[in-house]
Subunit: 216 residues, 2 copies
DNA sequence: GAGTCATGTTGATAATTATCAAATAATTCT
DNA sequence: AGAATTATTTGATAATTATCAACATGACTC
């Protein structure tokens, strides 16, 4: 147990996000994804390798809570994460993200604002975390990272638009049908309660919609 | 009338988007907005002045249609624009944007993909259009533009997230209340049918929700 | 391996919202 | 100004979905 006054490393990581302590974590999947958006230089790769922190989070644990600050951008190496906001006594799941994608609180990226949303692991996860401080440094050292992130944001903006669209479909069965088409991989993986919440309907309604869809 | 074979300038602009022909349009409002995200160099400003096209669009005319390609990024100097997708015989309005903001089809920005959404003027508008070709050139000449656009996208991504959230509120009156808080300026400006569509409810439901809200 | 907890299904009923129809009000056009 | 659109409101009814309750199922714990 650390003595009083001991400084914990990576102190800005939420308690549920546990650094593995690996010195040289495997970041190949991250590099493949980034490179797909825009080529990255050796210098940037070296910097990322040096500063990225491999972590694990257990299922159901929080990666970010409403009202707190997000200090990291995370790459999901393995597992699944959801974002949600509390509305009264129920959750509104705004996104569900799986391996090989990035998650963070956009509102925290440049100007540090407290997050309005929660981020929760919905499976045991392996994450790679890069602090915003290191990211800012990286922008300065390797300006091509601005291009990478610009393209990444373009892509994520498109995803957010799709989420905004699907939620505006007025009928529950249309929303589920659209979800089936666009997120086939999630259907037999993510608990239905999260999918129901993502689709703006109750678990019961989703259950009935699914039954009807399977019968026909 | 142009003779057969005459080449129309700015030929990629949709027909409803009419260049004014101004040689030196006032782009001060655009520069203020860009600068608010990140300082821009003199060279970039000169380039923008030289290549930007001042245009007008009449109310109800289309700036982009589903399935076509978007070749420009537009800054709204004056007026209001909405984005919407056809779903069966009804529109789903996914965003409403007014002066001093940018609009484009994000999916077209780098890789040219046909747009899934329509963009329509909901008031007579004055626009400033920069072609993607010129924007690509600008990225190369003035790399700080990558930073500007990155920050701009961060901000717009945050907006898209909010739109995805509001649409998931299960009750119509909650959605309207939230809209009132966040988009007060639009309520006495934009026709209710677009607001209803944006809020994922019928015009009649919105009318009743408004009545109830005003009574209490 | 029994018990507990989380997940998912089904049914009955109530609340919400969409649809259809008609009437007003406001705006645009000529 | 008057006609023609367009926008908004209101009412009656039908369709959809939420809520509450009970039950089934599977996973995880001790």
């Amino acid at each position: 147990m650390p003595a009083k006054g001991t400084i914990r490393k990576n102190t800005l990581l939420p308690v549920a996000v546990k650094p593995t302590g690996e010195r040289d974590p495997d970041i190949s999947s991250l590099l493949i994804v980034l490179d797909h958006f825009h080529p990255i230089g050796r210098e940037a790769i070296r910097f990322i390798k040096q500063h990225i922190i491999a972590c694990t989070v257990r299922k159901k644990k929080f990666i970010l809570k409403t009202g707190t600050f997000c200090h990291y951008i995370y790459f999901i190496k393995k597992g699944a994460v959801r974002g949600f906001i509390k509305e009264g006594n129920k959750d509104i799941t705004t996104w569900i993200t799986v391996e090989n994608e990035m998650v963070t609180s956009i509102s925290s990226l440049d100007i540090q604002l407290p997050s309005i949303e929660n981020m929760q692991a919905i499976e045991d996860c392996e994450l790679l975390a890069l602090s915003y401080t290191d990211l800012q440094e990286l922008y300065l050292r390797s300006p091509e990272i601005n291009i990478v992130v610009r393209k990444l944001l373009q892509s994520y903006y498109g995803d957010a638009e799709k989420r905004a669209f699907i939620a505006r479909l007025t009928k529950a069965d249309h929303r589920y049908q659209y979800f089936q088409e666009k997120h086939a991989g999630l259907i037999n993986r993510v608990p239905l309660k999260y999918i129901a919440s993502f689709l703006g309907m109750t678990l019961e309604t989703l259950s009935r919609v699914r039954k009807k869809a399977s019968q026909h």
